[in-house]
Amino acid sequence: MKLAGNDILIQSLIEEGVEYIFGYPGGAALHIYDSIFKQKEMEHILVRHEQGATHAADGYARATGKPGVVLVTSGPGATNAITGIATAFMDSIPMIVISGQVAKHLIGTDAFQETDMIGISRPIVKHSFTVDSAENIPEIVKQAFHIATSGRPGPVVIDVPKDTTAPDKLFEFKYPNDVNIRSYKPPIDPDPRQIERAVDAIIESNKPVIYAGGGAINSNASEELIRLNEILDFPVTNTLMGLGVYPATHKRFLGMLGMHGTYQANMSMHNADLIIAIGARFDDRITNTPKLFAPKAKIIHLDVDYSSVSKIIEANIAVFGQVKNALLEMIKLLEVKKELIDPKKILPWKEQISDWKSQHGLNHEMHLCETDDKPIMPQAVVQHLYNITNGKAFITSDVGQHQMFAAQYYHFDEPRKWINSGGLGTMGFGLPAAMGAKLAYPNDEVICITGEGSIQMCIQELSTCTQYNLPIKIININNEALGMVKQWQDMNYGGRHSASTYQSSLPNFVELAESYGHVGIKIEKNSELKSGLEKALSMKDRLVFVDVYVDPNEHVYPMLVAPNGSLKDMWLDKETKT
């Protein structure tokens, strides 16, 4: 079959099974847009800003495990996509970003809307390609999808000079069946000797903790993790990126660890004699001061990425490969060595952990029935949402206090239900990410828990939701401030709120939502909270924007003491330090 470059590109995406492409047109991408118009297999979602396209594709990818696909034009279209690419890169999310580029003969001439997209995006992509000729498009697309989705996933940019998609030059089109990149062979199956060493260390341990992160979700290893722990019955903590990979309602679940982790999770990590890290990267929100991290613990580290192991914390036993495969091998060997596991040995450790939990664990019944003379507490908003949705919703979030309350108080029992920007911490992520998740799962409840600061960074996407009829629910935890910034200013800068409040400049969010054709609900009193949220969630086919006014003075706790603190050093409330 003979096709022009633009059709070759679109047919290649269809061959990859792409259902949605999130984008925004412009000069350098117009040939490609013409091909999109002519086909029916794939739906293009017109966002209102290219940052929205990348976050929507990212939300789709996190919810489904399939790569998100983005199409933008050259110059400003490409640069607007950068924040979303960096967001996906930091959290290892598979994404394909196709950027239009000026024609080859114009490259380097400062042509209209020319920008060096490959150069600008280089530090924040897993790999990138420039199309040199239409003939090579199928091979490039095939490689790009392979790279984005295998090993440690990540975003891949394909920069497409306009002349390579010209409709008047035809080439033979055949999509390759397989792909082989000789310089790229990520590990899959673990070394059996390392599995053996890991299992022996597990059997010897007295104070073990399983610490699982986003890599376990990327590897679809939730089921294997649960099976492993049916044998071991060890305490388990998840990172912010890992929430849901181990059921939050399981009795062995300690809650999230790290900066705003639970007391019992942080104490368990600090006092452990064995840490089994599964697809987690010991980032600085987890370790606090690396030198003081878990001083007595032996570390087993399972990861697909060599460069993540022993980067911050030296691993005693490194298991390279797909985390899912490594867990399966560990399960097999543990079943053989079952009689060597002594469950009584770790009973004192489990008792110690339940003591920690009863001393300072989060109170999940908090503020649910307050009276109207008290302000609404942000935690109560999340707790009600959890109860009303039976913990079954997809929750996307933005960045700040609301994000941490969502992570702490919504219990995720399944992977991929919690969708947030953990690594880059990108305000503006939540709404477009919810659009991507809703397109992937139209029959599921998709809720964006946001703050009045973050939501205004991609608020224009309310219009996209109107065009494509995306009935997501937006819960704006409105503390009339950049709350997390203000909390740091309260704690470290003598309460000087430099540039963290808006001086009565906030819009009327209810009217704003209505002007886009959506429903707006304002909640200001405790007595209206539960019924207001129920009403919002009962409107199945409408986007509802719920603007909830909460106590502006609330802080997120626990909070690690930094700098120079360890995981046992926490603020438990405004007055109490451990």
Binding site: T130, I147, Y184, Y306, S310
Partner: protein
């Protein structure tokens, strides 16, 4: 700390070299000297073919030598990060 020499075999493709060089800057490592040539005489590069089980053609890959002063741990980290680059076939220390 002593100066180390890193030997890197990478695809001779546009943009491959700058990914390696850029990585040093991104990760805060310093490059003290740098030399790169396309590989024409394949005899000395049999180890690449053996290690990866591939056949090389003349001019298809480049050999890059970078000198940098780092400790053992950082050296291991740099090599892992360079090896992770898609266009890099082999990165190792010259002993």
């Amino acid at each position: 700390m002593i100066q180390r020499k890193l030997s890197i075999i990478l695809e001779n493709k546009p943009g491959a070299l700058v990914r390696v060089v850029g990585l040093f800057h991104q990760r805060g490592y310093n490059i003290e000297s740098l030399h790169v040539d396309p590989v024409e005489d394949l005899k000395e590069y049999k180890f690449v073919e053996d290690k990866l089980n591939i056949k090389l053609k003349e001019g298809e890959v480049s050999h890059l030598i970078i000198a940098t002063t780092v400790n053992d741990n950082l050296l291991r980290q740099i090599l892992r990060q360079i090896n992770k680059l898609i266009d890099v076939l082999i990165a190792e220390e010259v002993k």
